[in-house]
Amino acid sequence: MSLEIQNLHVRIEEREILRGLNLTVRKGETHALMGPNGSGKSTLANTIMGNPVYEVTDGKIVFNGEDLTEADPDERARAGLFMAFQYPATIPGVSVANFLRMAVNAKREEPIKVKEFGKLLGENMELLRIDRAFTSRYLNEGFSGGEKKRAEILQLAMLKPEIAVLDETDSGLDIDALRIVSDGVNALRGPEMGSLIITHYTRILDYVKPEFVHIMLDGRIVREGGPELAAELEDTGYDQIREEVAAANAG
């Protein structure tokens, strides 16, 4: 059970953003993907989910042995992939509860029973300490940054994907919101879910401890290691790593 990204090259409007990226995330593992702005982190997240804006020019995205490189986003979601958005879209006129019901039903043959759905929603809202009134609001309409991120994590909890990509879920959160979101992610971690936490900063990694850390520069993964790599990055910064990589390439 794994997501394998093999030699991925991705372009947007003639500009190559990902340039031969390799990464494997297995169920039960937590990975952190770190990189400065413009390194291609969000491009990777969007390409994993099949955003049509991004063009894959080479390489593959394989999930549980199946090549999903050309699959539509909904197909990928039903296969068990999920992405928490950095900037989730607003869906006017559709309440959080109705949206969640649609999404849950999209993965099922038979629509979920009202009672069962209510129970599932109640449990997850308790887990994420979300107020009941939240679910009757239109999804993301007028939400604060923290509310949007919490709505993303609530969807993650409801949909129980095999692999979740969290795209800069920590950005724009104050410390309390960050803690709530991190607690949510930690509560959902387990042998049934793998996650790829994409972040610019090491801050979220104080709360959600990854087993694997990858550092990305200019569309490729340039360093890989364990949690100690994040600690090292904290001390040295991206510039130091960039210089090391340049030196290694020159040598």
Binding site: M49, G50, N51, P52, V53, D72, P73, D74, R76, A77, R78, F82, M83, F85, P88, A89, T90, I91, P92, G93, V94, F99, M102, A103, A106, K107, Y138, Q155, L159
Partner: protein, 440 residues
């Protein structure tokens, strides 16, 4: 010469209207050079009023009428072609003194009341079709809710066309007494006829001070070639309130003027419109939110969506005349293009002749937002389901303003059917991101 016949005055009005009609050419409506509503494809001479026998029960009404009606109306009056074919008024309403009857009959039986209000704010000189309606109307609808009467169940009127070659001249006059309360739904319903027909309509509603009313217009002329050229005017008196919801869901060509007038101090209104055009339909709407007195208020929202090769133009004017100080009003209009071949236009405008008022307006024309669609698809929702949800969500704000569960269900159902019919276009229409948005 004193009138022998109580209705002589109306014959005079008809005569004046006929003269106006004969003096006017068939109009073509042009705006700023790029929008034209033309009747050149309508063979007016081939159309004529058609008469029908009354029916004894609701079950015998034409199917397009039965299909749209919901629940138990307090009163129901149905005009098919030129004839009123069904009138029902609950005993409870009759006891309260509520009158719902054909306007023709009201001219005879309630001459003074009708005469006092008939075409008070409409004129036979407004154009060829208002003149035609004033000259030729038959049947018609008259509604009177006496002072201090509160009607619980809706009062429903229907204009139905189910045969090609029909010319239907319709006139509704509604008078709401002081501090009365009611809900009125007027339906314009067509069968999917094979050929042309015309509905030329007038609707006028006058409230007395303190009245409160919900008024809905539901138009769905079906897939035939029904032309609708109508003028509707709602006039609100002192401290009265009207929530008016016109809904346009189908018709070969529709040209309507819809005016809501806060005419006396403290009058207040909410005006909510919705349209959905498909195939080669052509819709041309002009609304005016007219403030004639101090301390009036208005809140107007219009939303539309277009599929196929349809054309839809909405122009909304806020006008605040001199002396209408301390008035506050807002108008917004949105339009969503769901097909590459559809063309739309949404224009808010403003004429304010007095200081000390607040009036603002805004308009957008947009396409489906691919970011929203992608977002929904990453949750496992298919593209067509995402589009349907987004369009329904887009309309939800205006549908909810109806505050009428029966009608809300009908509108949601019809919009769902139209989206399903347009599924292929919607799929192929990979939007170019929410494009030409304009904020005024």
């Amino acid at each position: 010469m004193p009138a022998n016949n109580a209705s002589d005055w109306i014959a005079e009005r008809r005569k004046a209207a006929l003269e106006a009609y004969e003096a006017e050419p068939v109009p073509t409506w042009r705006r700023s050079g790029f929008w034209t509503t033309s009747l050149r494809n309508l063979d007016l001479d081939a159309l004529e009023p058609r008469r029908y026998e009354p029916v004894g029960s609701e079950a015998e009404l034409p199917s397009e009428v039965r299909d749209a009606l919901d629940g138990e109306p307090g009163a129901l009056i149905v005009q098919r072609g030129a004839s009123t074919i069904y009138t029902h008024v609950d005993a409870e309403l009759a006891e309260q003194g509520v009158i719902v009857m054909p306007l023709e009959q009201a001219v005879e039986e309630h001459g003074e009341l009708v005469r006092e209000h008939y075409m008070r704010r409409l004129s036979e000189t407004e154009g060829k079709f208002p003149a035609a309606t004033a000259a030729f109307w038959t049947g018609g609808v008259f509604i009177h809710v006496p002072a201090n009467v509160r009607v619980e169940k809706p009062i429903q009127s229907v204009y139905a066309i189910d045969e090609p070659g029909t010319a239907q001249y319709a006139h509704t006059l509604a008078i709401l007494g002081e501090n009365s309360e009611c809900a009125i739904r007027e339906y314009c319903l067509g069968a999917d006829i094979d050929g042309q027909a015309l509905h030329a309509g007038a609707f006028e509603l006058y409230t007395a001070p303190g009245a409160r009313a919900k008024v809905a217009h539901f138009q769905d002329w079906g897939r035939g070639e029904i032309y609708d050229i109508s003028t509707k005017r709602v006039v609100i008196a002192r401290d009265a309130f009207v929530s008016w919801v016109p809904v346009h869901l189908g018709g070969r060509l529709t040209k309507q003027v819809l005016d809501i007038i806060t005419a006396e101090k403290g009058s207040d209104m909410r005006h909510t419109g919705l349209y959905f055009t498909e195939r080669d339909e052509h819709l041309d709407l002009f609304t005016t939110d007219l403030h004639e007195a101090p301390h009036t208020a208005g809140d107007t929202v219009w939303k539309g969506a277009l599929t196929g090769e349809s054309r839809a133009s909405y122009e909304g004017l806020i006008e605040i005349i001199e002396g209408a100080r301390d008035s506050h009003t807002y108008l917004q209009t949105h339009q969503m293009l769901l097909s590459q071949r559809a063309k739309g236009d949404a224009i808010p405008s403003l004429i304010v002749k007095v200081d000390d008022v607040s009036a603002s307006h805004g308009g957008t024309v947009g396409e489906l937002d691919e970011d929203q669609i992608f977002y929904m698809m990453t949750r496992g929702i298919s593209r067509i389901e995402a589009v349907r949800t987004l369009v329904e969500g887009y309309f939800e704000e205006v549908v909810q303003r109806l505050d009428d569960p029966g009608l809300e269900t009908l509108i949601r159902r019809r919009i769902g059917e139209k989206l399903l019919a347009a599924e292929d276009q919607v799929k192929e229409f990979v939007g170019h991101r929410a494009g030409a948005a304009q904020e005024a």
